[in-house]
Amino acid sequence: MNHISEEHLIDYYYGEAESPAAISEHLEACSDCAQSYELMRRDLEDIKPIAVPQRDSAYGSEVWGSIRGLVPSYEKARKISPWNWFRLNWSIAAAAMACLLLVAAFFAGRKWEHRNGTTIANATNEQQGRQRVVLLVLGDHLDRSERLLVELKHAEPSTEGPLQAEARDLLSANRLYRESVKQQDPALASALDHLERVLIEVSNEPAGLSQAKLDELQKEMNTDGLLFEVRVLRSRVQEDANQKRGAADARKGVSIL
């Protein structure tokens, strides 16, 4: 009689065996397998689920509150270009500019206060935490983009498009990042703009990527230069994220003492 392998017993235990009736039958007939199964069952039942700390009903709102400011509205991102909006509503635009100046002055004031050591630690922690999440996500995006560009560099002509699917996936995220960093980081925004043009070219090629198209991308869109640029930016973003983490850790140490 052939015994049942441990792998099949594990499948059986988790209810995923291909033929559970046959295994049950075998376990009734074979004492060796029945003993092995019993030992395994006891071992697995001893492993209790990891207890999870409670989060109250307001947790969802807190999470949403922490990311709300980081995400633009979909409609706005898709339909209204800021330039058109400014042209059509110049009076509102002037008021908005005044508000922006006010907000800028407010933040400049806060930054000055921070330099003088008077910023409240909790508020800073929260802001740093948000920035870290943004940097992490951005780092991941640049990492994926770098991989795509490397693959593009070594790509063979093809009619199917895993590269195109990846480019389409990156495209929507890229737009959001470009929009959100436009004000704070023009260098990053310009690189993301360049990347976006390449992604559009790659994803919108209906007949797949021919050799001619690949050459065109390399020459006219300078994908090699872009790859270098993305690498530099990725390491910069990574450094920023590490610095933020280091700063947060240092603060944690101080607050405990």
């Binding site: 947790y59 979909y74 870290r132 929507s172």
Partner: protein, 190 residues
């Protein structure tokens, strides 16, 4: 009547950004639970929850209406949590990292195994279990947690970890083997 998740996703894509808050409220507890089980750290789990919902928002256009939003965001969270674990491991490797030697932990636990009381034994099991879990690779550990503690099928695990179903099955299998080997001393000692 409460709107279903698909209707809310449509509203968000139509420009009602605030509606996403409802989705976050509905699914944040589940996402936190799995994030905590994978990362083993409250602060990291909170960060994973934020990151998962942020990524979810950014990729919402790629969300297909035939799947469930809860399953979709859960998958993103597992991925974020796994990245977090790998990152922490890398950071720990860059530092000194002597204190987390699993072999050391096992020796310490074996010394404390003398007591016959049930409570002591239970604490010993917990400690040994934690050490055994720590000895797994990030993928094995995550696959096992999803299978054993989160009741997810092999297909769901494969999809969450972005690996083939057979690889997911193998990861669970290897995890069970390693855990049983690590927990064997408890079975031998009465």
């Amino acid at each position: 009547m409460e709107a279903n998740d698909h209707a809310i996703v449509r509203r968000v894509l139509d420009g009602d950004k605030e509606a996403y808050g409802t989705l976050v409220g509905r699914h944040s507890q589940n996402v936190f639970r799995v994030a905590f089980r994978i990362t083993g750290d409250e602060a990291d789990a909170d960060e994973v929850v934020q990151e998962a919902f942020l990524r979810g928002y950014q990729r919402l256009q790629s969300f297909e209406s035939r799947s469930e939003f809860g399953t979709w965001i859960y998958r993103i969270a597992v991925n974020c949590a796994l990245n977090m674990v790998n990152k922490r491991k890398h950071e720990a490797a860059c530092r000194i990292g002597e204190e987390t030697d699993p072999a050391m932990q096992q020796v310490q636990v074996a010394d404390a195994a003398a007591g016959p009381e049930r409570t002591l034994l239970s604490r010993e099991i917990e400690t040994l279990q934690a050490a055994a879990m720590a000895s797994l690779t990030a993928t094995e550990r995550t696959a096992f947690i999803l299978r054993h503690m989160e009741d997810r099928s092999t297909t769901e695990i494969a999809s969450a970890l972005e690996i083939a179903p057979n690889a997911a099955k193998q990861a669970v299998f290897r995890a069970v083997q390693k855990l049983r080997r690590s927990l064997a001393p408890l079975r031998v000692n009465p």
